[in-house]
Symmetry: D5
Subunit: 93 residues, 10 copies
């Protein structure tokens, strides 16, 4: 089951540089582990933004929430979730 | 070069049913031809909306505009375009 | 899997009264059938609005989309979908 | 008398961790006591948000305000209140 | 129990003048009957708008919805409802 | 001459508790003095908000501005002012 | 007593050309009469818009409402009213 | 003196095809004449929109307004005007 | 050449009182010098807001920008600029 | 390939003055180097704003993102990107 997720990151200007570097490193590892598992099939950078547009492939709303809530950058993010369905024109449907 | 494109369709209530059916059929054919060519790699229905979220893979802004302008449903659509870049956490990058 | 769905109805002022009455009757029957099946456990009127706030309990995003797309009033509705998860404070969780 | 209430939580990044943990614990206890009393029949997490969608069943506007004002997380919340009425299609009405 | 209600009227430009005059006359009678009953204690015109700000005093959400739904101008109105509670600084509280 | 005024209060999380208590006490006294004078005939709490909806009865725009500017909570408020006129359906007009 | 008033005009595309010309001519006469009386001291065109920004000098909210309601273009306008007060830096104050 | 101008075109679905074609042809001629005169140095299509972003170089606000008001598509456009100044980092300044 | 300028001031709660008083005093002097020169013909307080609506009469966009950029309160302001033209109904035009 | 980019700068009030001066100096050098290379053909100040409207001429979305992400003021900016295409009325097209 697919969901589009837009994540906008807003790091406080006075965030401790070490905390910042560590959080970003953990975010990357967290994301890549989920990408490898197939749960997070797409992640794109939105040009000129500290944002990404991602697609998640999960079993349920609860699974998606747990993934997003666990993002190391979650406390600094605004997140918008759009549930996706098969499009009738999709040649792969 | 990738772009996320959100298309919201708003057909007038008094649109002639034949015109409507014909336009939707042409839209589907137009979309599927582009999907097969690789220019339109993803199309998803947004749940509960007469909308889709798509990803286009084109050579230039001009090519993308020509594709979108040529959509049979273009006169009835609101379209939002987001240029995408490679995300530093993308395992395929 | 639960989703909150807000539906705002906007009937054109010049809609044929018979078409209007028939559409509203079919909407009611369609809704009540889904309520009885357990797919549509809650429907509330928003005070002072031609709107409802509903909760759906479905297997997937695709099932929810099919239900909403099939609403007799769908062409006259604006719909907002919010995926819901279990809340950690929920005493029934 | 039912009300839908959307609560968005925004905790300051520099909130003392002990204060934070204590406030969240008190919020949970406060909510569960009201759930058990029947005043707060539904609470759902909005996927990907530090937010909940709740339904309250109260005697009056004043009772609802007192409940919300007393939430331990109230100073960190944005709250939106929607009064609900019986829907004419509700099979339980 | 008090509610603030903002009503914005938007009459279609091509509304039949007789229908228009009749609807406005019925709206006035409907409003004045409710004012006399004490259910609609305040109605003010918003300067420069085809709008009013009103205060209703009702027993329940359902009663308020029935009153608003029954307004002869309801099909042409956008309505915003704000539930009110006693303010702790109110000298009459 | 009547004006509807919506006041939303946003106290900084780190405001000194004594300053806060003192400011709120002065706000209450200031408001009640104006209520007694007839300048501030209505004040209601908006349910679930640190907000009030008030009606002022003043001689001029300048008088209203001076009253609002003098509110002890003014530096922490967002204020929206709506000039009101007599409504043609008002039974007291 | 001064008020800033922003008026945006939106004439229907299918408005009868004679009705349109007549309404615009009456609007101009109405405006100029009020300008000569001193009630409407400023009227400016907003560049690139079918809009004006005006300043009115009236005795009361009711007088302003009657003037605006009487505008021949009123049914085609969106109007925004801002009450003005003397600014403490005004050299003429 | 430079101004950025965003123009969004919204042609009614039922516009007579001849009127439409004629208006668009006149718009093109009008624009190209101004481009050749140096008054309209830049015009770009916004990708996926029936919109353009333009830059005008005029003597005054009044000249800009006259140009925009005279656009054959003006009655079908929403226009946003941003006055521009020299940027201190501009290497040509 | 006239421009309407709306300035909203938002002073940080923790601004040093001396800095604040000094900045406001310099703002007043700066404004009054420009008023006397004829560059800033109107300044009004928006009722209930820490805001003003002003009209400037300048030679160019660059002159206006330099004036606004030089405002002592500029770092604390949100500013909205509307270019004005002569209105065809203006009796002084 | 052209993109319009709107950049709004919001420097924290408590930014160290040296850091601020250094960042602005580096921003200017960075911008001017890109202007000289032809990648950044236009930069205009938006009147009354700490903002610029720019046009970039780049090979790809990725190149644009790298340029914008590298701006010394990037952490303090809100950025809006609009992909541009050739306009059919452009005399240079």
């Amino acid at each position: 089951m697919l969901f589009a997720v837009k994540m906008d990151v807003d790091l406080p200007a006075d965030l401790d540089p070490e905390v910042k570097a560590d959080t970003i490193a953990r975010e990357k590892a967290y994301s890549q582990k989920l990408q490898r598992s197939g749960k997070w099939p797409h992640i794109w950078r939105c040009v000129g933004q500290y944002s990404n547009l991602s697609v998640f492939d999960v079993e349920s709303n609860d699974e998606l929430h747990d993934i997003l809530w666990g993002l190391p950058l979650f406390p600094y993010m605004s997140i918008e979730v759009t549930p996706l369905a098969v499009h009738p024109s999709d040649i792969n449907a």
